[in-house]
Amino acid sequence: MTLLEIYEPGETPLPHAGEGTLAVGIDLGTTNSVVAIAREGVPAALHDETGKALVPSVVGYPSAGGLVVGEEARLLMAREPRNVVASVKRLMGRGASDLHTVAGVLPYEVEPGTGQTDMVKLRIGGKARSPVEISAEILKALRARAEAALEKPVERAVITVPAYFDDAARTATRDAARVAGLEVLRLVNEPTAAALAYGLDKGSEGLYAVYDLGGGTFDFSLLRLEKGVFQVLATGGDTALGGDDFDRAIAERLLAERKRDGLKDLVDEGAVKNALALARQMKEQLSDRDRTSGRLELGGKPSFHALASGEFEPMIAAHIERTLEIARHVLADAGMTADDIQGVVLVGGSTRVPLVRAEVAGMIGKPALTDIDPDEVVALGAALQAEALTGGGPQGEEGTLLLDVTPLSLGLETMGGLVEKVVPRNTPIPVQLAQEFTTYQDGQTAMAIHVVQGEREMVDDCRSLARFELTGIPPMTAGAARIRITFAVDADGRLTVSAEERTTGVAQRIEGRPSYGRSQDDMADMLYDSLDNAEADMTRRLLAEARVEARRNLLALEAALDKDGGLLSSEERAALDVARARVEAAIAGEGRDEINAAAEALDALSKPFAERRMDRGIREALSGLSMTDLQERVGE
């Protein structure tokens, strides 16, 4: 019985559909996109007539009408900024609750979604458009480029997504492809695709790391390569860390130098943009020389600036250290050390910064692999996977096999706002894992099921994926029902949740859709918060557990009192009521020790009552789980 399918209906590819057409690999990036094709195991990026492989991920709706994508749209931005969308990938699968994280960052109006999904829309060119629709335009342009270059129809693709993309973002990416008329053979994680490009090229074996530092995101993955098998062991990252941080550091220095020289600037958005543009240029120049200089003109007043590598590097050292710290966490997750790593693959434009290369090589103790263009490597890997999936390239024992993992833990809310993890992070996919839950009160016939994603102990700190209610549970004593909840994650990393009451086989079907929700940034934050807050979480968890346990025992005692209250004298009853009230009061407070102390006092006091019930129970035949609960408590 499937209760909830976080899955889009109607997108399952038909068998044999599209055979005879070509399958491409697409890197649908935040800043730039690339389309590539592999033939007999050799991948190549597809270029435009001017020889460029990169397509800016920019879509424009000119006021004169029509639609432009890529370089043309980027040029339109200067003239009609309100009619152009860039960085739409940051909004994929994001809901109204994410607006605070993107508002002010992106230069267009964002409005909450309506109707079935909660995904945001953009007011652009006078019309509300969804990120899926806009991404589809980029994909259509890539498809057209591929068809022009290959002179054949292209209907199938492998599309890459960040390892950290959550369920909603993955589904939104699939939707965009469908709108663009592309059947998605598989969504592949970007670092995995990059390793694929290197692995096949070199026939390498052993443990490899992929260090992916883009403009605004960082990903670190560990993969084991063995005879064509790519096994992802662990992955981690930060979606708010990248080359943009380096640009900002230089820009701040430029503005500070002007101030020092007595220039009184009005530091507005335009000034910052200009400073950032020069900063970026200087950063790029420092990739192949030791010093650089530039001219910045703000408000008609020019200034001249010099920057040496020796000055630049200390400015970005802390950012690079942060990436290494994440890398160390990922290694620890996989139970490995840097010595185990055979080589490290560098992906993303920011890995051109010499200090990044040096620091990564220093940490791993081996030089980094850089011979594939870091801007193209992801698309090349996707192309290889597309070929492998469509029966091209080496097959059988020689063929490539990708074994990927879940980037974040998946779980359920349990009593007291706690998270019970069902699928831990870094679990190989596809996977199907089940856990049994039970009812909490006598006669309980319904159970709220809340699916969450994240590493923290408390529900409020994790991302909510879906909520639904299982009803029709036959009334039983608390703890007697056995509700088995199964999480299935498919090879694309998408989740389906189903539930079943095992004692009676109650079947009820409920379907849900993903709650397009929080941002990717939140996801990375959630993961690293969990490491920082593990101890505080543990304290909260213990408190919540103490509350749940105390409440459960109160309920059990209440049920017993209702049934067998007559076994107690009125003094005994009064004393018990006082002790019960103390437990209630302790539960309302924040002290775990107080709750436990009050609960123990109540236990001790109710012991004679339990014994008398037991005596009677022997006569009347024991019935009900509340009784058993009480016995267990007393027995401790």
Binding site: L401, P430, D532
Partner: protein
């Protein structure tokens, strides 16, 4: 089918990691959904189920501790559910003492020392398991597994305590 049988391996505590990997990779080559992209839906569904079962088996058997728990369950050793109170009085005392020490530790070095003791203990207890399985001494297996579960949790707690201490030191350093 139990996890060992699924991977075609003997149900034993001692398992060569390379043999496990080989069996797993070979079967994944056969069943991974990527091999069934163009196949009819029922075949794809079957592949997905098989691949998921393989992943579950691999994950369970790869880690020596989880493998020991799994093998014990196959042998009919009844374990208390995870998260339940420790019902072994000796272990209870040991656990309480160790947690107190961890709580009182005020430096990363102290925490590291405690964690390294725990790891050594864990290795020792793991090394003692095969002979217990051989003798089919269920009570002793149960006692050892309970202790292993506790040591594993303790190592985890030490890790988070360490992160917290390191964080504090960091912040103090910056202030």
């Amino acid at each position: 089918m139990d996890h060992f049988a699924r991977l075609g391996l003997p149900a034993a505590l001692d398992l060569e990691p390379a043999a496990l990997d080989k069996a797993y990779f070979t079967l994944q080559r056969q069943w991974h959904p990527d091999r069934f992209v163009a196949k009819p839906p029922e075949q794809r569904a079957k592949a997905s189920t098989e691949a998921a079962a393989l992943n579950d088996a691999y994950r369970t058997l790869k880690d020596p501790l989880s493998r020991a728990f799994y093998l014990a369950s196959l042998k009919g050793v009844e374990m208390p559910a995870d998260g339940k109170t420790i019902d072994d009085p000796d272990l209870l005392v040991e656990a309480m003492d160790a947690r107190e020490e961890l709580h009182e530790a005020s430096s990363v070095a102290e925490v590291d020392a405690l964690a390294s003791f725990a790891r050594e203990d864990l290795q020792k207890a793991l090394a003692g398991l095969p002979s217990l399985f051989l003798a089919n001494d269920k009570a002793a297996i149960r006692k050892t597994l309970l202790r292993l579960r506790y040591l594993d949790k303790f190592a985890e707690e030490a890790r988070s305590r360490r992160a917290n201490l390191a964080n504090l030191t960091d912040k103090r350093g910056k202030a």
